[in-house]
Amino acid sequence: MFGADQPLELDSGVELAPWQIAYETYGTLNADKTNAVVVCHALTGDQYAASTNPVTGKQGWWSLMVGPGKPIDTNHYFVICANVLGGCLGTTGPATLDPATGSPYGLNLPVVTIRDMVRAQARLVEHLGIQTLFSVIGGSMGGMQVLQWAASYPEKVFSAVPIAAAARHTSQNIAFHEVGRQAIMADPDWRGGNYISEGVRPTKGLAVARMAAHVTYMSDESLHQKFGRNLQDRENLTFGFDADFQIESYLRHQGMTFVDRFDANSYLYVTRAMDYFDLAHEFGGSLPAAFKETKTRFCVMSFTSDWLFPTSESRRIVQALNAAAANVSFVEIDSDRGHDAFLLDVPEMFETIRGFITGAANARGIPAPGEGATS
């Protein structure tokens, strides 16, 4: 919690105060404070990377990646994961009460950017007394934050792992987000963003937004394998508009469960932050300039079937890092799971991250897993 005397300066020019940031930590900070890892979550993620989400009761969204003995091994590293600015799980967002009015901010919250999210995290890290981070790691929008961290605070970031990410949101990405936002705003229960005060929720609009987005997270191949043209609980087509197909039923389920854990206005704010992201723009249009003289070790990763954040976008990052003569690894991983692959059980990804982190730990002079040290 940062009080009225500790404002957060936003890209929009507004100073946000008071503001708060909700976070979880895993593992133990070592005496030198050199083993801290910031994990950045994606659009609809949260701070519960490796612990049970109190809203859904499900295990953490990255519990395959983060935990004791996992690639980001909490026996060795101190992992911090914070809810993003504009989010809806404890960090200041549109559902937070505006101290000026006593009602939820709604659309009165200034539009936030990826850089604002990272600024907030940097304040948290500073608050925890940590000078440098051993690593900053994240996928999708989390990867955007990783790149922003490396560009804004190069001296604080020893290593960086942007996965299935991009240094800018493409026109196609913005287009999909706009469809989602329009679905929310077209819901009569959205009420110009004041639905909380009016005691309603735009669940239909938010569910449709999620359904449309969810399709972009998967690949044609994975959809085909999982659902094909299979019918849902029926032998024949009904000649109606029920969910005849399994894929329809699946998407409806995804939409319905999403609204239980996410706030519609947060969806507007966080998608907007992604749309506004264009790292090169901040550096006079030159992406290499964002990484000029960086000492950070990078590991860039993409997935073959990801068409939302395709390999070409990761290559753009790698080219810029090469042009800056940065220390960079780049791996494209074979997977048919689409953009969501970074959240799933993809052994090749785990092995790469494990190897990269171990190499970085050796370079940093902190004990890596498997070397007999305990934290």
């Binding site: 070790r297 080219q319 003569a325 220390n327 690894s329 780049f330 494209e332 494990r354 190499g359 050796n362």
Partner: protein, 211 residues
């Protein structure tokens, strides 16, 4: 790495790798183009404490490199060297890869641009065994060291040691050091003029610097 590694394996560290390593200064910034599974980079990091990067065409090779803690990117020597700034590395290494590039001259020129020094190891196509096969049998040479048939070889631009030295001249590169090797990577311990090496050496390692 395009050659059959088994044909070259001499103990755990390949002979040509040992020779390359002997040419690299301690703590140098090194780019290994065609880093394969990272064996050479690993050796250089361990024995020369280099700040090393690799570029490798095969996805599997890159993943192996990164999983063993090395920095490597998936990329193509023919197209991706242009991304690097001038003199970005103390040494740029091209180990047994030149013959597999589409435009060897361009690749060499790029290496001389991005590396203050360049180390190149190449197979010598003018080795006597190859000459004999072509001359007496009238067939494209296939040896233990170069085990591919003409139709399935990834090695599309072979040269002799003399050809390579000529290319260096054309690119204004000084040959600061040259080491002739057998197929097993053992140094050929004779002082001989180029034309002898061009017959008896199966491979060679060159240390180059642009004038």
């Amino acid at each position: 790495m395009i050659l059959d590694p088994n044909a070259l394996l001499a103990g755990t560290v390949r002979g040509d790798h040992k020779v390359v390593a002997s040419l690299i200064p301690q703590n140098a910034r090194v780019l290994d183009v065609g880093s394969a599974d990272g064996a050479l980079l690993d050796l250089l990091v361990r024995e020369r404490q280099v700040d090393g990067r690799g570029i490798e065409l095969s996805k599997e090779g890159v993943n192996n490199c990164v999983a063993r803690g090395l920095s490597a990117i998936q990329g193509d020597a023919d197209t991706d060297l242009t991304d690097y700034p001038d003199q970005a590395f103390d040494v740029a290494i091209l180990s047994q890869t030149l013959q597999a590039t589409r435009e060897p001259k361009k690749v060499m020129s790029e290496l001389l641009r991005i590396g203050k020094q360049v180390v190149v190891s190449i197979p010598n196509f003018a080795h006597w065994r190859n000459r004999v096969q072509l001359l007496l049998r009238g067939r494209m040479p296939v040896t233990k060291y170069l085990p591919y048939e003409w139709y399935d070889t990834p090695n599309i631009h072979f040269c002799s040691l003399r050809d390579f030295v000529d290319l260096c001249k054309e690119l204004d590169a000084d040959v600061e050091k040259a080491v002739a090797l057998s197929a097993q990577g053992n140094k050929i311990p004779i002082n001989a003029p180029w034309w002898v090496w061009n017959i008896v050496a199966e491979q060679a390692v060159f240390l180059l610097k642009r004038d």
